[in-house]
């Protein structure tokens, strides 16, 4: 499964918005098969913040662990947030 973050918006900021985004998408995660990778595609995202990222990526990371793969992470705000989240979670993300 691939999750296209631009479908949530291009300015991804704030815990409330992050929580709402994850809650809205969670039912779709039931379709993910055992051992199926889950890709998160950042293409098109302009502004990405740790508050939104923690609320959305945190639960995905806990649920899918090494099956989670991040794509198109070149945007500087995406890179900076991932650096922060790695420090908090104590574990790196798999990136394409």
């Amino acid at each position: 499964m691939t999750i296209f973050l631009k479908k949530f918006g291009t300015t991804l900021n704030g815990r409330q918005f992050g929580k709402e985004s994850f809650a809205a998408f969670e039912p779709s995660l039931r379709e993910v098969k055992e051992d199926e990778p889950v890709q998160v595609d950042f293409e098109g995202v302009v502004t990405f913040t740790p508050s939104w990222g923690d609320e959305f990526l945190g639960p995905l990371f806990n649920r899918f662990g090494d099956r989670l793969l991040l794509k198109n992470t070149k945007n500087p705000s995406v890179q900076a947030v991932l650096k922060t989240l790695v420090k908090i979670y104590g574990k790196d993300f798999n990136k394409e």
Partner: protein, 234 residues
């Protein structure tokens, strides 16, 4: 509200730049809110946004700021943040770092909402203004401040200076009930890695961070604020 001294107001009144209403029965000058708002709109390029935001956050009497600078809730803030992002993206010299400037503005602003939702002491919402010609963004709130919110997970914090230092330096576990510090460490790292300066104040404590100098030197401030105040320069 205007970020100017009483002497300046007197001068403006005498010159007709901003006239007060009739003061036959009082020695105080009174102004119509609509006239002040018109004055701000007409002179926005000359105003010191930092002073306006600071005065608003420090004032003993809480009042909603000028509407163009006021985000009463997170949805207004999100909309204005997108507008800022668009305006920043048009500046060629910022083409590489504008998402970072937008991200730290977003993180500071949304922190104010996240930590004060349902608990605003007087005025709900934040002050959010920018002047891209002078390369500055100002955010302020009249919330509880960092000390009150961080004390919930670190009761040993004694004062605003301790709280501000903790918020910008200590990683708090990702699933702790209080998240404030993690966003501010992101802000610190972004500022230290890029041509961005940050002034941040909460209560009676302030700090300044700039490129290649992320050392946290918290100082006591002269002016005491209700909540938080941030100035981002780039």
């Amino acid at each position: 509200m205007l970020g100017v001294s009483i002497q300046t107001l007197r001068r403006w009144d005498d010159s007709g730049k901003l006239s007060s209403v009739s003061r036959k029965t009082s020695s105080h000058r009174h102004y119509l809110e609509s006239e002040i708002e018109d004055h701000i709109r007409d002179n926005i390029k000359e105003l010191d946004l930092f002073k306006i935001g600071r005065n608003w956050a420090a004032d003993n009497m809480g009042a909603e700021p000028f509407s163009d600078f006021y985000c009463s809730d997170i949805s207004v803030f999100q909309a204005r943040l997108t507008r800022l992002e668009n305006e920043l993206s048009e500046l060629r010299r910022l083409s590489r770092i504008f998402p970072l400037i937008s991200a730290i503005s977003g993180e500071i602003g949304s922190n104010s909402f996240d930590h004060n939702l349902g608990n605003w002491p007087d005025i709900r919402g934040i002050f959010f203004a920018w002047d891209l010609k002078r390369r500055k963004i100002v955010l302020a709130d009249r919330g509880q401040g960092i000390l009150a919110t961080l004390k919930r997970v670190k009761p040993e914090l004694k004062n605003h200076q301790d709280a501000l230092r903790t918020a910008f330096t200590e990683v708090i576990s990702g699933r702790a009930p209080e998240y404030r510090g993690n966003g501010l460490k992101f802000v610190r790292d972004v500022v230290a890695d890029n041509k961005i300066n940050l002034f941040f104040q909460t209560g009676g404590a302030l700090l300044k961070i700039q490129k290649n100098n992320s050392k946290i030197n918290v100082q006591k401030s002269v002016i005491h604020l209700r909540g938080c105040l941030a100035l981002i320069q780039f």
